[in-house]
Symmetry: C2
Subunit: 474 residues, 2 copies
C-alpha cells in the first residue's frame, strides 16, 4: 500500500500535469485563481513559486487564460524566470499585443536566450518598426541570424527552421565527434542527428544519434552517413515540409539553400504545429471561417472577419430565391410546394457536403489525385444516385401521405434523385476543379456546392410539379 503510494509519487509525469491541469488537460481554475491573486498582490516570489518552474506550454496557456492587463504583469513578476519560448504557445493576437506592451529591452533580452526558430516565430508577426526596435537591442551575430530567417517568405521552411545544429567534416571519426559534442559548449538545446558537410558547407549526409552511438569510435563519419537524407529547401512551403515529415516519419530534417548549403534544421515539434494549423485551416474554411480569427479576438474583429463569407452567401441566397421567384404562380396554386421545397434543397445540400468534405480532405492529404480522380468521381455520383433513390422513396411516401397526394410524392421523389446525383457529381468536381485552378478547395467549395443543390433542388421540384400538375407559370 505505502509502497504503491510511493510508487505513484515516483512517476510525476501524469501527476505533475494533474497538479495544474484537470483530466481533460485544461488548466485548473483553482491554480489560475491563485496566480491571479498573486499578481493582484504584486507578490513576485509567490508568482515564481506558482509558475516559475512550469513548462513553457503551461505558462503559455496560463497567459492566454489571464485577463489582458494581467499578462505583462505576470511576465514582469516572473522576471528572469520567464522563458520567452512560452510566447510561441499563445495566440498571435495575444502575443502581438503583449510584445507591444513590454519594453523592447526586455523582449530583446528574452529573445536572445531562446532557440532561433522560436525567436523568429515571436518576432515575425510584429510590424517592421517594433521588430526593428527589438532587433537593434540584439548583439551582431544573433541579429544577423534572425534577420536572415526573417527574410525568408512567410510560412516557408526558412521561417520555421532552427539555425543551431551540429555539423562535422566527413573525415572525423565517431569518437572524435562524440568527444567534440561532449566538449563543445553552446550546442543546440536538443538535436537528433549530426550533419556531415564539406568545406563549402554543402550537405553530404546526416548521422542519427542512435547510429552514432551504435558505431565504434574508430569509424569515419563518411562511412556511416545517411547518403540521401530527406532535405527541405529554405524557400519550400512549410506545408510541403510537413508532408515530408509525415510521409517519411522524420524527427528533424536539414534545411538547405538553393546552392544546397546547410543553413538550418527543421524540428518535428514545429512541424506538429504546422500540421495542426493546416488541418485547422481546412476545417474553418469548410465552416465558412476564413482568415486567422482566434478565440481571443474581440467581438468587432471577429464580426468583421466573418462578414465577407456571409456576403457571398447573401448573393447565392438571393440567386436561389430568384429561382423560386420563377414559380410564384405555381406556388400560389399549390402552396404545398412552398412547404416541401426546402426539404429537397437541404437534403441535397447535406449529401453534397458529405461528398465535398471527403474530397477536400483527400485533396489536402494528397490521397486524391490524377490516378484515382476518375474512379472517385464515378463513385460519388453513384453514391448520390443510390442514396437519392433510397431517400426519395421515404420522402415521397411521407410527403404524399402528408398532403394526401401520391402524385406529389412521386414528383418530390424524382426531384430528390436528380438533386442527389448533382450533389454527388458537383460535390467532388468542384473541389477538384478549384484545386486544378490552384485555389484552396476548402475555402470556396462550400458555397458552390450548396448553391448548386439549392438551385437544382428548387428548380427540379417546382419545375417538375408545375409541368406534371399543369400549373400555369403566370
Amino acid at each position: 500500500m505505502t509502497a504503491d503510494a510511493e510508487t505513484r509519487a515516483g512517476t510525476p509525469g501524469p501527476d505533475v500535469v494533474d497538479a495544474i491541469r484537470d483530466e481533460d488537460g485544461r488548466l485548473r481554475s483553482s491554480f489560475v485563481e491563485a496566480v491571479v491573486a498573486a499578481i493582484a498582490a504584486n507578490d513576485g516570489p509567490r508568482v515564481c513559486e506558482l509558475a516559475g518552474d512550469l513548462h513553457e506550454s503551461d505558462v503559455g496557456d496560463l497567459i492566454e487564460t489571464l485577463e489582458p492587463d494581467d499578462r505583462p504583469k505576470l511576465i514582469e513578476l516572473l522576471g528572469k524566470e520567464f522563458d520567452f519560448t512560452a510566447l510561441t504557445e499563445v495566440d498571435e493576437t495575444v502575443r502581438v499585443r503583449l510584445l507591444e506592451e513590454l519594453p523592447p529591452e526586455t523582449v530583446a533580452e528574452g529573445v536572445r536566450d531562446i532557440d532561433s526558430d522560436d525567436a523568429v516565430y515571436i518576432l515575425e508577426d510584429l510590424d517592421e518598426v517594433d521588430r526593428a526596435r527589438i532587433l537593434d537591442q540584439l548583439p551582431g551575430p544573433e541579429r544577423v541570424a534572425l534577420t536572415r530567417s526573417l527574410d525568408f517568405p512567410e510560412e516557408s521552411a526558412g521561417r520555421r527552421m532552427q539555425n543551431e545544429f551540429v555539423a562535422t567534416p566527413p573525415f572525423w571519426t565517431v569518437g572524435h565527434v562524440i568527444d567534440h559534442i561532449a566538449d563543445t559548449p553552446g550546442l543546440p538545446e536538443t538535436f537528433y542527428e549530426v550533419f556531415v558537410v564539406d568545406p563549402a558547407h554543402k550537405l553530404l549526409g546526416s548521422v542519427p544519434l542512435d547510429r552514432l552511438l551504435r558505431t565504434r569510435r574508430s569509424v569515419l563519419m563518411q562511412d556511416i552517413l545517411e547518403e540521401d537524407p530527406r532535405t527541405v529547401r529554405a524557400t519550400d512551403d512549410q506545408e510541403a515540409a510537413a508532408r515530408l515529415f509525415e510521409r517519411y516519419n522524420l524527427v528533424s530534417a536539414a534545411v538547405v539553400d538553393d546552392a544546397d548549403r546547410l543553413v538550418g534544421v527543421l524540428m518535428v515539434d514545429d512541424i506538429l504545429d504546422v500540421i495542426e494549423q493546416e488541418a485547422d485551416e481546412d476545417l474553418r474554411a469548410l465552416g465558412g471561417v476564413t482568415g486567422d480569427e482566434e478565440i481571443s479576438d474581440t467581438v468587432l474583429y471577429t464580426a468583421r472577419s466573418r462578414i465577407p463569407w456571409l456576403l457571398v452567401n447573401l448573393c447565392t441566397a438571393f440567386f436561389s430565391a430568384s429561382v423560386i421567384g420563377l414559380f410564384e404562380a405555381p406556388i400560389e396554386q399549390m402552396v404545398a410546394l412552398a412547404v416541401l421545397m426546402p426539404i429537397v434543397a437541404s437534403m441535397g445540400g447535406n449529401a453534397g457536403t458529405q461528398t465535398m468534405t471527403v474530397a477536400v480532405r483527400a485533396l489536402a492529404t494528397r490521397d486524391l489525385g490524377g490516378h484515382n480522380a476518375r474512379r472517385l468521381i464515378g463513385r460519388e455520383t453513384l453514391v448520390g444516385l443510390a442514396n437519392g433513390v433510397a431517400l426519395a422513396a421515404l420522402v415521397g411516401l411521407a410527403a404524399g401521405a402528408w398532403f394526401v397526394n401520391p402524385q406529389l410524392g412521386v414528383i418530390i421523389g424524382a426531384a430528390m434523385v436528380v438533386n442527389f446525383v448533382c450533389a454527388g457529381l458537383f460535390g467532388i468536381l468542384i473541389p477538384i476543379g478549384l484545386d486544378k485552378l490552384k485555389a484552396d478547395p476548402a475555402v470556396a467549395s462550400g458555397v458552390f456546392v450548396t448553391t448548386i443543390t439549392d438551385v437544382v433542388g428548387f428548380f427540379s421540384f417546382l419545375g417538375l410539379a408545375s409541368w406534371w400538375f399543369g400549373l400555369s407559370l403566370r
Copy 2:
C-alpha cells in the same frame, strides 16, 4: 554551371522524391504505369528494381494506387524486398483485404521483422480468426509481446507503443551505456532517449541521447537523468497522449503500466498519425461524414455509411417544413414570403455554422473551457447581433426593392436579426452542451444548429409577416 549541376545531383533529398512524385507530392502516373506493366509481365526483378528500394511510405501509396488484384501480386513479386511496415501506410480497408489474401505464413514472416507497434497496427484490424492464424506462426517471445499490446483497449497508448527500448540501471556510467549501445545487437531501429529503471523495472527517469553525448563518460546515469519525464499510461487514450506530445514538444515518451513499470515507448511519428486522424474525424464529422469511411471504399459501403446522417437530416427537414406548414394560408395570400423565406434560414445557418466551427475546434484543442466559456458565449452572441444587423440592412433593402414593398424589407430584416442572434447563441451553446454530456460536439452540433436556424428563420419571418400584414392563418 557544371559544379552547380553536380551540387544538385549531390543532394538527392527532394530529387529522389521527384523521381517518383510530382511537385504536389503525388505518385507520378508514369512510375505507377511502369510498375503495373511489370506486375502484368510477372517480372519480379523489374518490380524490385522499380519499388524495391523505396521508402515504406512510397510503397504504401503505391499499393493504394494499384488495382486491388495487383496489390498481393506486387507483394509476392517483391518477396523478401517487401517491408511490411508499408502496410501501416495504407487505408484500413486496403490493408485488411490484402492481409486476408496473403498466406498467413508470409504475413507472420513479415510482421516478425518489423517494430512491434507497426505489427500491432497491422494486426489489430483483422478479425480474431485471421489474427490468431498469423500469431500462431510467430515464435514465442514475439507472439507474447504482440498479444500483450493487442490486449490493451483500441486507440490506447498501449496499442500504439513500441515494445523495444533501451533501459539501463541508475548506477551505470555514461561511458558504460555508450559502449553497451555500441556492443548490443538488436536494439530498437530508432530511439531518442535511454530510460533508467530500477530492478523492479520501475521508471526512474530518462536521458535524451544528446544529453548522453554531452556528458563525460565517467558520470553516472542517475546524475543526469530527467527526473520527471512526461510519461503515458498504457491504458491512456491515444488522443490524450497526442496532446501531451504536442504540449510538451516530445519526440518519444515512456509508457508505464498501472504499477509504473516501463512497458514501452511512444514515438512521435505514430503521434503524427494520431493527430492527423483526430483532425480528420472532426472535419468529417462536421461535414456529416461519420464512421471510418475511406477513399478506397466501394460505392455500396460508402452509400450505406452516409445514410444514417441523411436520415437524421430527413427528420429535421420535415420538422422545419412543418413549421412552414403552419403558415400555408399567409403564403397563399402573399407568395413573396415563400420566395424570401429560404434567405432568412440559409443566412442564419451560415452564421451558426461559423460559430459552431470555431467552438467545436476550440473544444477539440482544449482552448475552450470553463474559464473562458462565458466570455465566448457572450462574444458569439454579440457577433451574431452585429452581423445580423449589418446583413439585415442589406437583405431588407434588396427584398423591399425586389417586391416593391418596403414593409416586407423591414420584416425580413427583423427576422434576420432574430435568427442571427440565435445562430450565435446556439452555435456555441450546443457544442459546449454536447461536450459537457461527453458527446462528440463535432458529430452532432451541425444538425442541431441548422435545425434551430431553419426553424427560427422560417417562424420569425413568416410569423412576423403574418402579424404585420394581418394575414389570416387559415
